[in-house]
Structures are given as C-alpha cells and as structure tokens.
C-alpha cells in the first residue's frame, strides 16, 4: 500500500515537472497574438488582445497564475477555439483511445502467435519467413505504411475509406498502420524471451515428466516469458496514445494527436500545455499499472 502511495507522490512530482517544462518551452516559440491577428492589425489592437489574454504580464506571473489554475484542475481556455482546453481534449480522447486500443488488439493478435511459432520452430523456413516480415514491419515508417495502405485498400480496392472518423470501417487502416511497429516489436521480444525459457532447466523437467508439448509451452514457458513483453506493451500503450500524431494526420483522424499538432502550429499555449499534461498523466498511470501487473505475472515480485 505504501508502495502505491509513494508511486503516486512520484507521479505528482513528474506531472509538475512536465507542466513547468511545457510552459517555458511554449513561451520560447514566440508570441501567439501576432499570429492570431492579421498583418493589418494596429499596435493598439495587438496590445488590447494581449492584455485580454493575459500575455502582457511578466512570464513569472503568468506561470504563477497557470500553476494556481492547474491546482484547481483548470487547464485554461484555448486561444483558437475560445473553449476550455480540458473540454477540447476530453472531446478528442475517445477517438485516440479507440485508435490505440484497435491497434493494440491488431498487433497482439498477430504478434503472440507469430512470436510463439517462430520460437518453437527455430531455424525453420517458417521462422525465417516470419522474422523477415517482422523486420520489414519494423523498418517501414508509419507515414509511408499509411499512404501505401490508403493507395491499396482505398483507392485501388475501395474496401475502406481513405480517412476520417466514423464507424469500424474508418478504424481498420489507421489501426494497422499504427499497430505495425508494435506488432513487430512484440513478435521479436516474445520470440527471444521464449527461446530463453525453452532452454532452461524447468522446461526440461516439465518435458521429462511427460507433459504435452502444448502444455509445456502455454503453462510453463510462455508464462515465464511474458514479463519483458508486458513491460514493453505497457510502455508502448503510452506511446500509442501520445505517438499517434502522424497516423492521425495521415488518416484525418480527429484525435488528441492532431489537436496537439494544430495547437502547436497555432501557438495555442493553453491547449498545448493541457494536451501535454494530459498525455503525461496517462503515461504515468499506465506505467504504474504495468508495475503492479508484475506481481500477478510473477508472484516472486513483491512491493515494499
């Protein structure tokens, strides 16, 4: 219990750090007011807008106000949309979460069997086939895969729409594009981890006592090989949520990633801050959950 409490304190510390860094980094990128107003705006108009947005105050004072608001869970108002940043992000989270979940399911459905098969059938043509495909999957950047998928499955075959948000149909191509890299990663990791387990003494014992090969793999080898896989998948969920920026742009998917990119282009400071803090928060929570998961997978691990 005290472990969890301590981790939560760390989390708050990390979030405060993130909030501070993102505040000062955005301030380095220039003045948002000059971009909001057209070139014909007079100096008076610029100053009026600056004042009404609070950008006329010293940076330290702005920072104080920002932290004060943050402690009340107030992320401020978006400059572009004129709506609360938290609301805008909350509106986009379902789309991003949906995409991340879909690509996670896609990659695990393919990666787990592929990893097991290539570990069992070492040095066979099956293994070489799988590993070459995995290498290709890991080498292709998502923006390229995305465009290829659109060209093949949308433009040529008309199976799926080219992009946009909608039903299950709209989800397939972006989920594949986003999940490709994770799939390759998990396959390789599971394979090497499983190979290590298979060569260990307890597996020889299990085989010697006459267990079915299937049971040896599923109950003994696989379970012991999952620890690194869970760690990586856990970390990658965070990356899927935060790193879907490119995928969302290619597929015109209205998620947090696209919101964040647009906000950066528009110098929409409150929205950039809000989105970064929110993503960091999700990342921290997932990390904590992954650590807690270890105990279930490997009972030897105890938290103190």
């Amino acid at each position: 219990m005290s472990y969890i409490l301590r981790r939560c304190l760390y989390a708050i510390f990390v979030l405060f750090g993130v909030a501070t860094v993102v505040f000062f980094i955005t301030r380095l990128t220039g003045d948002p007011v000059t971009i909001m107003l057209p070139p014909d705006a007079s100096v008076d108009q610029i100053n009026t807008l600056k004042k009404s947005l609070g950008f006329d105050k010293p940076v330290i004072e702005q920072f104080g106000i920002y932290i004060y608001h943050l402690l009340q869970f107030n992320l401020g108002q978006s400059l572009k949309y004129g709506e609360p940043a938290a609301q805008l992000i909350a509106d986009r989270l379902p789309a991003t979460a949906m995409l991340a979940t879909a690509s996670l399911i896609f990659s695990l459905i393919l990666a787990v069997p592929a990893g097991i098969v290539s570990a069992i059938k070492r040095n066979s043509s099956t293994e070489h086939g799988i590993m070459s495909l995995v290498l290709i999957g890991q080498s292709m950047p998502v923006f390229w895969v995305g465009v290829l998928l659109i060209l093949l499955f949308s433009v040529e075959l008309h199976w799926f729409p080219t992009g946009g948000y909608g039903g299950f149909n709209h989800l397939v191509l972006p989920a594949i594009a986003l999940g490709m890299h994770l799939m390759a990663l998990v396959t390789r990791l599971l394979r090497s981890s499983l190979i290590q387990s298979i060569n260990s003494d307890y597996i020889r014992t299990a085989r010697a006592k006459g267990l079915l090969p299937r049971a040896v793999i599923a109950k003994h080898a696989l379970r012991n090989s999952l620890l690194p896989v869970v760690t990586v998948v856990g970390l990658e969920i965070g990356a899927l949520l935060g790193g879907s920026v490119v995928t969302e742009t290619i597929f015109a998917w209205p998620g947090v990633g696209q919101l964040l990119v647009q906000a950066i282009y528009n110098r929409d400071f409150p929205l950039v801050q809000g989105a970064v803090i929110m993503l960091a928060g999700i990342f921290v929570i997932i990390n904590l959950l992954v650590d807690l998961c270890y105990a279930f997978i490997d009972p030897r691990i105890q938290y103190k």
Binding site: S42, Y81, V147, T162, A218
Partner: protein, 513 residues
C-alpha cells in the same frame, strides 16, 4: 487452445468489418464504394479543405478556411459578381454621402434561419458586437468605423473616423457578416457558436472538430434554395490523402492543391483539375534599413533582373501562376497594367552589381515557410548565377510570421499576401508606409502617396496615386516581385462549380450535372 482463440478472434474481426461495411452507405463522410452510392451522393456535396474552422461564430474568426465554411451559412452586406465587381448582398445599394459616411440600403424581406427578420437593427447589432473589445474579434478591417446609425428600418449609415474609401470592399467578407441580434441576446455567445444561425444558403447541422462540418439547404433562402440538399466540409490535413479521397469519390472537391499534387489527378477520367485565378501574390521582402548590399538600389534592381519568373511559372509552378509587376494582383483595384514587370536579364544584373560595388556578388540569407521550399530553392539557384549566394532558412509558417512581426527575420524573406478586399490599399497597407508593421524601406514620396490613396474616396484620384506608387516601387525595388498563384482545385466531373478569386469556398451556385 491458443489456435482456437486466434481463429475466433480473426473471424470476429472479419464479421465485424463485414457488418459495418454494409451499414456505411448512409453516412455522408465515408462512402468507399464508388458504385452503389451514386443516388445518395447526388444530393450531397463534400468539400475537402486542409484546416478546420476555429469557431462557428463568424465574428471570432479571421482566416480564409474559417470563412469558407461560414460563408455558406452567413451572408455579407456586399458580395462579388462573376467578374469580381462589387455586387449587392444583404445590402442592395450603397454610396458615400460624405467623406466619412457610407450609406447602405438593405434588402427587404430577408429572414435569419430561425425566422428573425434582418433589418437595420441587425446591422447595427452586428457591427457593434464586432467592434466591442469584449468580443475579442480578430477581424480588424472595420476599426475605421466609429458608429453605425440606423436611419430607418432598411437604411444604415456607417460613420468612419476618417475617410475609408474601401468600406464596401471590407464588408464583402469577415466584418460584413450579419448575425441575428435576438438569437444571440437570448441564447448567449457560447450557444451561438455551437448552433450558429445566419441568413445564408445552408443551415448548420453538426460539427465534429477536425473531422467534418455538416450543413443542410435552407429552403427559405432569399436568393432561392440551393440545388444541392446537403453540404459537408471534410477536414483532410494531408494533401496526398485529400487526393486519394477525391479519387475514391468520398469528396467532390479537393481545395488548395499544389501543382505537383494536381498532376496526380490530371489523367483521371472522373476528375478535372480547375485552375482559377487567385489573388494571393508572392514576393521577397528586402531589408533596406540595414547597412549592406540591400541598402543600394542597384543591388535590389539587379536581384529583380536576375530572377527568371516566367520560366519559374512554367516549370516549378506547372503554369498555375501569373506574373505581377509589383505587389498588386491583376484583379485588384489600383493595378496599372501599363507598368511592365522586370525582364529577365542576368547580364544587366551583373552590371548593376558591379556598379554598386559588388562585382563578385555577396552572400545573404532568406527565410521562407517549409511549404514554399521548392519555389525559394529555384529562386536561390537563379540568384547564384549572378554571384549572389543565398542561404535558405526554412521554418513553419507561424514561426516565419512571428519572426517577421518581431523584426527578427533575415534580410530577405519570401511571403504571400491575400488582399481579399481586392483593392491595392490592402496589398500596400502593412509594407509601404514608414510607420507600418512590416516596413523595411523608408521613402517620403511613398508615404505621401499612401496617405492620398487611403484617405480619398474619389476612385480617380486614388488610381493616380496607385499608378505613381507602382512606378516608384518598380524603380526602387524594395521587393523582388514574383507572381500571383492560381487556386488549384480537383473537382469531380459531374459537379458544376466556379471558384472565386479570394479562395473562399462558397458552394451556393454548385450543382450536379
């Protein structure tokens, strides 16, 4: 065991995707099959553009993509006809009754989409709301207006602080949008932004940010109901994806394409590329205020002689541009067609450089937006031929603008300007007079001429000032003058629609063949 689960999961996946694809013929945004949906596509027009609107409150936006969407729901006092001349909109006629008063006669019998009548009070309310600092409007053109006076139910006077010769031009877009007083007072600003009501051809239905805006035809529209029943603006930030969506028939119009993207659809049987004159004009600003080569007039002239703009238009820009002699596009009031652009003459350029004391040329840096990379590289290549070694700094457009405004940009920067009022006043406004924000060239004659064209209502006097200004600008060359780009659109062949010169995507006149 595990194989069973695997097979079960795969079959579930296949079944789900099968179910869904049979259900998607109804929604407008994703109709992947080009065959079965012809009937439904015919009364729905889908327009794709790169950026979404920031708000549905027309008085809180100031950019062309926002205006494109909103111009279908809202009307302006004045509009433009097929020849780009000012034409009646919600106002039927207008005249300057003295130097500081413009009088507008309003169209009778027009109603907002909720039934509220449009009248002189609505005009006063709209302009008062726009100018109220609490609105925080980014629209600044109408800051010359001191007061709107209601003369009678269908007549208003715009009283300006000084003479404003182009007030009617200014109310063709942004500031000229009319909003419903009663609706806004009763429902509040936030509600208005969520459920906008205008007098326009289409009614607001829904908006999912960065995905799509859906509108339906207003059957009671004062010009007559639009032919196409449903209008959807889809936001597709990636140009390659936009073209793909056009090819599959998911969208009918792909807007603001670049010439290399347009080449991809040239040979598609069901599509056409429409290249239409646009008023976005490009140039390179030269900083004459710093000591160095650019302070010398001969050097600036040499740079203009050294750039082969006509070849650039043919090659880099695929023919989708037109030459300009100074900063004014050919459609705008004030342009003097008798002033010829600089000819391409590298010999003369070298000669001028030698005269100025730079026979070996010099090195200089140039800022530009990433999007304009190939254009500035071409220019840098041509300048290298006369010994001017240009170091190109590419950045995102927001950073470029921020640097220019903060006067932190390089001695040369490449930028475009859309003078959407279609009067040369807007093209010169921020650059020419010594006290203006982007000025990097001081000239007392130019200052005087700017005062004349900005403060005189008589078009003849203004044209004379503009002609003199263009002669002066060509000779002094505080810019490298380049071209005005065409607006390039990919349009499905069964659609009839003519784009306008400001790039605003108004779909009222569109129809399917």
């Amino acid at each position: 065991m595990k194989m069973k689960w695997f097979i079960a999961a795969i079959s579930l996946f296949v079944v789900l995707s099968g179910c869904e694809s049979s259900n998607t013929s109804a929604p407008s945004n994703g109709t992947p099959s080009s065959s079965g949906n012809k009937a439904t596509v015919k009364d729905t027009l889908v327009v794709a553009q790169e950026t979404d609107a920031g708000t549905m409150d027309p008085q809180k936006q100031g950019k062309i993509p926002d205006m494109s969407i909103l111009s279908n729901m809202f009307d302006t006092l004045v509009t433009r006809d097929a020849n780009n001349n000012l034409a009646p909109g919600l106002a039927t006629e207008w005249k300057a009754i003295n130097d500081t008063t413009w009088q507008f006669k309003l169209r009778e019998g027009v109603k907002f989409q909720d039934g509220e009548p449009f009248d002189a009070n609505a005009v006063k309310f709209s302009i008062d709301r726009l100018l109220n600092p609490a609105t925080k409007s980014p629209i600044v053109e109408l800051n010359t207006v001191s007061e709107v006076k209601v003369v009678d139910a269908n007549t208003v006077n715009f009283v300006t602080k000084g003479p404003d010769p182009i007030l009617p031009n200014k109310v063709t877009l942004f500031g000229g949008v009319m909003v419903p007083p009663k609706y806004i007072q009763e429902k509040g600003d936030d509600n208005f932004a969520k459920n906008p009501i205008g007098t326009g051809a289409y009614k607001f239905v829904s908006w999912q940010k960065d995905n799509q805006v859906v509108m339906e035809a207003n059957p009671d529209y004062w010009r007559g109901a639009p032919q196409i029943k449903k209008l959807v603006f889809r936001i597709i930030p990636n140009p390659a994806d936009m073209v793909a969506a056009l090819k599959t028939g998911e969208v009918n119009i792909a807007s603001s394409l670049s010439s290399d993207v347009a080449d991809q659809i040239k040979n598609e049987a069901s599509l056409q590329v429409v290249s239409s004159p646009w008023i976005r004009t490009f140039y390179i600003s030269l900083d004459t205020t710093q000591d160095g080569p650019l302070a010398k007039k001969e050097v600036r002239q040499a740079l203009n002689y050294a750039v082969d703009v006509d070849t650039m238009i043919k090659t880099v820009l695929g023919g989708h541009a037109a030459r300009v002699s100074t900063l004014i596009p050919k459609q705008n009031f004030g342009v003097d067609a008798s002033i010829q652009p600089y000819e391409y003459n590298p010999e003369k350029a070298k000669q001028l450089l030698a005269q100025a004391g730079y026979p070996q040329g010099f090195s200089i840096s140039l800022d530009a937006s990433n999007a304009d990379s190939s254009n500035v590289q071409a220019i840098a290549g041509q300048l290298a031929k006369i010994g001017v070694n240009v170091k190109v700094n590419l950045m995102d457009s927001a950073t470029l603008v921020a640097n220019i405004t903060a006067k932190k940009s390089s001695p040369m920067y490449y930028i475009g300007n859309t003078g959407w009022t279609m009067d040369a006043l807007s093209n010169f406004q921020s650059y020419i007079k010594s006290d203006r924000r982007y000025n990097r060239w001081k000239n007392t004659d130019a200052d005087k001429l700017i005062d004349v064209e900005e403060q005189t209502v008589d078009p003849k006097v203004r044209q004379e000032a503009f002609s003199k200004l263009q002669t002066l600008l060509k000779d002094e060359s505080p810019f490298i003058y380049l071209y005005q780009l065409d607006g390039i659109y990919g349009i499905s062949k069964d659609l009839q629609w003519t784009p306008g010169p400001t790039g605003v995507l108004n779909m009222y006149g569109a129809s399917f063949k």
